[in-house]
């Protein structure tokens, strides 16, 4: 293996495990690019089955990273999801932590 001395394993431990899951990362990225979206949109955009999406949205909601609420859109009841400030912050932190790790691995 090439020199990876600059990589501190503690940085990897610092990665948020909620965000680190590829499924939840996809969901957060989708929600980061819209103001709010319903279940169907996220399912299509993130290419996730409804069951998988449901489970992972629950985890994100428990972590306070997304807000799930019932809303009427054009008189139709919908489950609307939006990313919270904590979610945005978590994604930014994850991105800024992961960047140097990947850079170190490439060296």
């Amino acid at each position: 293996m090439k020199d990876s001395r600059s990589l501190d394993p503690r940085e990897i431990s610092a990665l948020d495990r909620i965000v680190h899951s590829p499924t939840r990362l996809k969901i957060l990225l989708v929600l980061m690019s819209v103001e709010e979206a319903d279940f169907t949109f996220i399912s299509n955009a993130a290419e996730l089955t409804r069951g998988n999406l449901s489970v992972n949205l629950s985890k994100l909601e428990q972590a306070g990273y997304v807000k799930i609420e019932k809303k009427f859109i054009e008189r139709v009841p919908k489950t609307i999801v939006s990313i919270t400030q904590a979610g945005e912050k978590a994604l930014e932190t994850y991105s800024s932590l992961l960047g140097p790790i990947l850079d170190a691995l490439r060296k």
Binding site: A37, D38, T40, E61, S95
Partner: protein, 192 residues
């Protein structure tokens, strides 16, 4: 937000917005408006002066009925400013149109296929590059009329033909959209 993340979310937003509007409704109704305009010029029937724009009012209900249940609902963040490539592209198209009028303007009639062909190519190029079709049409339609009038070749038949092509494109995109996003049976509750 760090730059890379910001750039990625911008790209995603653009992609989702494009897919959301890739249902062919806009294309169909712009085509319909052109066909109606052409028929109106041919027949002077007042019905077609209204028939052209009235169905545009159907876009929102149709979107509500066909698109949102399939692709889902999303509220997009405030629209981004027009990207530089679109502005440059629009400038090139306008320049080509102006040059055509200047140098070929005296030869009327026989140049019609050339004009429509060039504009069609420009339109296809723009769509291929993933430009927002609303922007493309906003550029394309005025140029179509300006160049056509400049050449005095904008006959009702050409308008109807171009409109029919756009309607055909709209139907194609609409069918493709319905196939790609089949109707959902439920709304997917239980997410909370």
């Amino acid at each position: 937000m760090n730059d890379q993340l910001s750039e990625q979310t911008k790209k995603l937003k653009k992609r989702y917005a494009r897919t959301f509007h890739n249902d062919g409704l806009l294309d169909f109704f712009i085509g319909w408006a052109l066909v109606s305009a052409g028929i109106y010029l041919l027949t002077s029937s007042i019905v077609f002066s209204f028939a052209g724009w009235m169905p545009i009012l159907l876009i929102a209900p149709l979107k509500q009925h066909f698109v949102i249940p399939r692709f889902g609902y999303a509220k997009f963040l405030k629209p981004a400013s027009i990207p530089r490539p679109i502005l440059i592209g629009a400038g090139i198209i306008v320049s080509i149109g102006a040059l055509l009028i200047t140098f070929l303007g005296e030869n009327q009639g026989s140049r019609a296929p050339l004009i429509v062909g060039l504009l069609g190519l420009a339109l296809l190029f723009a769509l291929d590059q993933g430009w927002n079709r609303t922007t493309v049409y906003a550029i394309f339609i005025p140029i179509f009329f300006i160049v056509g009038l400049g050449f005095r070749v904008l006959t009702p038949t050409i308008i109807i033909l171009v409109g029919a092509v756009l309607m055909g494109l709209g139907v194609y995109l609409f069918v493709r959209f319905l196939k790609k996003y089949p109707a959902e049976r439920g709304e997917g509750e239980g997410s909370s």
